[in-house]
Symmetry: C2
Subunit: 386 residues, 2 copies
């Protein structure tokens, strides 16, 4: 096992009728900004529940946060926060709204220049407005971590930041609010959580059997419960199991003491930035390519994954690795998620564009410190996905 630090102070409040608790959870009663997206919270009862619970508070609303939330939209919220002297941010919705709120909370108190530097230059955040969230969509895990991903429309960039100031004070997880989700969004959530686990698990062995088994526990639960929630988002138990799995996938527990990869995400973000493809779908496109190209480097874990998750024990090592990759692709496809450039109409020239963009940023990444994903490797990974 590698040495590690683990710290996660997010209070999770999970289940039915939990909205009533938020007035006790919010430490102050005035100047609260409620941030949300396109208005789904007005259809699933969450907006009404929040307003009822917070009827004694001053609520300033900020709506219209888009999927892949943009810097441009976030900065409009920052302006309103300054104008209205907002003291607490409450996000309601899915991962995009929460990610945006984390950035907005930091940008509102950022006084070292352009807040875009937090993303582009990794500038340190010294403070952040306090924030919390009501989660209505299982997927990104942002409700229980300190990370955020923001896009800039004007430059087609999609970048991440992470700060201990960005932990939500609490997150209320509402599986029943997810009952009215379009099934494509449920499918996205399953694949997103699945690949989050993979990025922290499918690297190389470091004798960390507990971490491996917890990662496998999440993968198996996603494979078992995800299709049920996809088939019927109003099946409370399956949605609850999916939602908790997605949170556990990215709250720091499974990465404690093990190497991480994140090359699938790094490459996937480029496909979203250039072609506006749903985040989870970009992961489903890239993952099989990463596994095929790095099959030697990841072989031990690919064999373990094949055996423990899919029961693949027969055949040569090469055959077993192939089967593990194939069955994963089939799992994504069973959720209606395609895995090839051609499925999304992405032209082959996109490969040159992505390689060029990584080149500009001087990127080398993949499998933690090993930095295996060089520019020629990115090219090979993407060529596998045409």
């Amino acid at each position: 096992m590698k040495d590690f630090e683990f710290y996660n102070p997010v209070r999770i409040v999970f289940g039915k009728k939990q909205l009533e608790k938020i007035s006790d959870l919010i430490p102050l009663k005035k100047r609260i900004m409620l941030l949300y997206g396109g208005g789904s919270i007005k259809k699933n009862g969450v907006y009404e529940g929040i307003m009822k619970a917070l009827e004694d508070c001053d609520i300033i609303e900020f709506k219209g946060i888009e999927p892949n939330p943009s810097y441009e939209t976030c900065m409009k919220a920052v302006d309103l926060i300054k104008k209205e002297n907002v003291e607490f941010l409450l996000a309601a919705g899915g991962g995009s709204v929460i990610d945006a709120t984390k950035f907005i909370a930091a940008a509102a108190l950022y006084d070292d220049g352009d807040p875009w530097d937090i993303l582009a230059k990794g500038s340190k955040i010294k403070a952040s407005l306090p924030l919390a969230d009501i989660l209505t969509l299982p997927a990104t895990g942002t409700e229980m971590n300190k990370n955020s991903v923001i896009s800039r429309q004007s430059t087609n960039e999609k970048l991440a930041f992470s700060s201990p100031h960005s932990f939500p004070q609490f997150s209320v997880l509402l599986p029943d609010a997810a009952a009215t989700l379009p099934t494509e969004q449920v499918a996205n959530g399953v694949v997103d959580a699945f690949v989050h686990v993979i990025e922290q698990y499918l690297t190389y062995p470091v004798n960390a059997p507990l971490q491996d088994r917890i990662a496998e526990a999440i993968l198996t639960t996603l494979i078992e419960e995800g299709p049920k929630a996809y088939a019927d988002p109003s099946d409370y138990d399956s949605m609850a199991n999916l939602m908790w799995s997605a949170t556990m996938a990215l709250n720091g527990i499974i990465k404690a003491g093990v190497p991480e990869d994140w090359s699938v995400h790094d490459i996937g973000h480029e496909l979203t930035a250039l072609h506006n493809i749903d985040h989870a779908r970009t992961l489903a496109i890239v993952l099989p390519g990463v596994w095929r190209v790095l099959r030697e480097e990841k072989k031990e874990k690919l064999l373990q994954y094949g055996e423990r998750i899919w029961g693949i024990t027969q055949g040569t090592e090469e055959e077993r690795v192939d089967r593990a990759i194939d069955v994963t692709v089939k799992f994504f496809e069973s959720l209606g998620i395609k895995t090839k450039f051609s499925d999304y109409g992405i032209p082959a020239e996109t490969i040159d564009r992505i390689v060029e963009r990584f080149k500009k940023r001087g990127c080398l990444f993949g499998m933690g410190d090993r930095k295996l994903v060089t520019l020629p490797v990115v090219r090979k990974i993407l060529e596998d996905r045409l």
Copy 2:
């Protein structure tokens, strides 16, 4: 899945050479009380490491905290804290030292009368001195929770309390400090952690597959790594895996959304109080009795446990339950831990005494709200263990 809240703000710092970090972790530099036990930290280098890291601080030492830490000893520390105006408590050692420190930190600021009421009457703690710990022994999980168990010598009582004020600010987990442990203490740690998981897992199904699998992940890791650490406590990797398993066993993750039991602990505490038997050994005595007497109520989970942990798939349900119990007893015995009254010279009259003590306290407990463990059930459980 049941509704739940999860909150755990303890910062974990895990691995080699982590003692150097404590001067950055402690928020202030003066009036720090270092609490420890019989002096093992002077043999394993931990005392020296702490003193070196904190050479700029005023350290007040309090040593001699015993296993099953006593109220009487704790109150001596409280007196010293008041006299010396101590501002921060740093525990170094195993679970007993940390549990004592949690109680001392609360008692030092308790002004509603006798601090024993915190344990005996469940009196609420309103404040606590800040505390942290250096863990040198994998077992109780107290390093990452808000619980503590304290004994009173004068009345032979052993009682627990839990308070959000009692979370350590940080816990430094040092697998290599456990290298010099007597093997019996390693065995105790494995069994203690094992039964912690069992109390939160082996109840009844509530469709919480992720929680089940994470519990199973910890059990399997304890079964795999525990015997290696027991055979050679200086085997760093095995000890590290055991230590992280013991922490994960009782940090709130596996109980989120599922029923709990704790009847093994409630009964086991009585054996420690009356006969001064090591905590873990009392659990090994009581557990098979609880399973035999509540085999119908726990049948579904006993079958799942037998199959997933021990591969028991053949035979009738009754045979499989019997085998699951037998193989667990054999596992404890393989670590040198006996499971019968007669093995410890406990007389049969102890059963009457325990039943009488529970009767006085008006106890009914076991499997959460179900309160299955009535006085006749306690008697049956203990009669099974003669």
